[in-house]
Amino acid sequence: MPTSTVAAPSTGAPADGRPAEIVLAAVGVTLRYGSVTALDDVSFTVRAGEVVALVGPNGAGKTSLFNCVSAFSRPGAGTLTFGDLDLTRATKHAVARAGIGRTFQNLSLFPGSTVMENVLVGRHSRMRASLPANLGLWRRSRREDVAHREAVAEVLDLLGLLDLRDTEVGGLPYGTRKRVELARALALEPTLLLLDEPVAGMNPSETAELTEIIRTVRDQRDLAVLVVEHDMAMVMEVADQITVLDFGQVIAQGTPSVIRNDERVREAYLGNSLARDETDTPPDTGPAPTADAAARRTEEA
């Protein structure tokens, strides 16, 4: 069984031998919809300060896995733990409050609210729940409000959104809205950040910018990041560890250089998907050429 070899956590250890804390641990996660097995015995870990990428062709189970981690789906078997929290039983809001922030594949913003208001919702779980604070009556809650707004301003500054804080989100360009969504997830002060196709639909300069932002927040906050992305160049650049899924199974796991040289990945994913993907994705983001480009770039470096 290929899964038994790739399940070993040793592949997830940082290159410099630093024993980083395991933030997210999945062991044997299995999810079935009727007779379809979306996830089959999937195991992996995400450590603090580490970017783990989930890649694989459409329908490989990446989003299903994401939904399990954020408690939107309940796996039928296996364990999925975030610190002490059992993600297979937790409620969605409890998962968020415990420190898992996420963005969505198809933007899920509050279009009628301003950038500031959107990001403030991300502060929600860090706010006091008391009734007077809720009613905005308490002086202390006002001071708290100021603190929240300052924290939000900091995140907005990091993402270059400070000038747009009072703009309604609905009218902003796509790339900007993607950044607002990331800001909102960061405002939660997560220890684990889930990014579902963060650079999909972005142009190369926007992609480079966002890649840099992800690196920055990872380093600044010792953040664990789990990212699903089709843009292989971006994945190769940002990921510390890559888990490759196909038909719900893990077919390879390791560092970008390991994955790039993995025969099975080349055949099962990059090779086969060349014909498959060129029909439904724009040619400039097709996985094979960009993966080659990434390979060349890292070889030059």
Partner: protein, 299 residues
């Protein structure tokens, strides 16, 4: 001229009570997509609770009776959400709609069984007293209705923008999935919104029962005139609901004031159906209302 001013002020006062009901409709609809057609009957129940705590049974002073009615109605709405609506919402919003229609009928029947069909006073302190403003005599109850509604709507607006729960509800109304991914407990917020709608209904009931009107188990049907108000305002806009409901109140009162000469043509209680004519007109001409979001269905 005095007539017009007096009628308009009375209309604004009536519209204010409609606004409280309409905002109750809109709050629940915005936050959850559900329609609560028991809103009018919950209002009647609230008014009867005020009567019961006050002159009807316990003889408590008016303010205390109102506070107890507020608490009782909020608890009732939380129970309704938990025991009925949540279980129906699993199936569809239509199930909730029919369920609340049934709940309304139940409330009406229960009130009739408990209190009979006599017209009763709730012991409000205003009676038929009037206050003269700039030479125009205005019922004191109208001034209170307008002032209290204004304060409540203003507070709600601030609450939605600045409190944790308010921001949560605003977020949830736009995207419940994203909201829960950000730590919003959508179940609890749904309960909160139903409780809030109950509280608004009690206040509306108090003003709708004031002199010269009174309470009876069917007063909830009168309050349904708030529904066209909410539709006129756009149904997913709180401020729109207020504008729409006040408009309905003013139009209805003006028609009531001037309909007598045309009684031979339109009948004696034409003003009762005016809100529903407005509803039909709005749905034909501008279905998204004055301030509502035009719906774009994605194929």
């Amino acid at each position: 001229m005095q007539d017009v001013i007096q009628l308009t002020v009375s209309g604004v006062a009536l519209g204010s009570t409609y606004a409280l009901i309409a905002v109750g409709f809109v709050l629940i609809y915005k936050a959850t997509g559900q329609l609560n057609f028991a809103q009018g009957d919950v209002m009647a129940m609230g008014a009867f609770l005020v009567y019961w705590f006050g002159p009807g049974r316990f003889g408590l002073t008016f303010v205390v009776a109102v506070l107890l009615a507020l608490v009782g109605t909020c608890l009732f709405m939380v129970l309704v959400e938990f025991a009925l609506v949540r279980r129906l919402a699993v199936h569809s919003h239509e199930a909730v709609l029919i369920g609340t229609l049934g709940l309304g009928i139940l409330i009406r029947a229960a009130l009739t069984a408990a209190f009979g069909t006599d017209k009763l006073g709730i012991g409000d302190p205003w009676g038929n007293s009037t206050t003269t403003v700039a030479g125009v005599a205005i019922p004191t109850s109208s001034i209170w209705a307008i002032a209290v509604t204004g304060i409540i709507i203003g507070s709600l607006t601030v609450w939605f923008r600045s409190s944790r729960a308010g921001i949560s509800v605003t977020a949830m109304s736009q995207d419940p999935v994203a909201a829960s991914a950000l730590g919003v407990n959508t179940r609890r917020m749904t309960m909160l919104v139903w409780a809030l709608a109950g509280a608004l209904a009690v206040v509306a009931g108090v003003f709708l029962a004031g002199y010269p009107r009174s309470i009876d188990p069917h007063m909830g049907l009168i309050a349904l005139a708030a529904f066209p108000g909410a539709v006129l305002g756009g149904f997913d806009s709180v401020n729109g609901a207020v504008v729409g409901a006040v408009t309905i109140g003013v139009v209805q009162t003006l028609v009531a004031g001037y309909e007598a000469p045309w009684a031979g043509v339109v009948g004696h209680n034409f003003h009762v159906i005016v809100p529903w004519l407005v509803l039909v007109a709005v749905l034909l001409v501008r279905p998204q209302g004055l301030f509502g979001t035009k719906r774009v269905i994605r194929a």
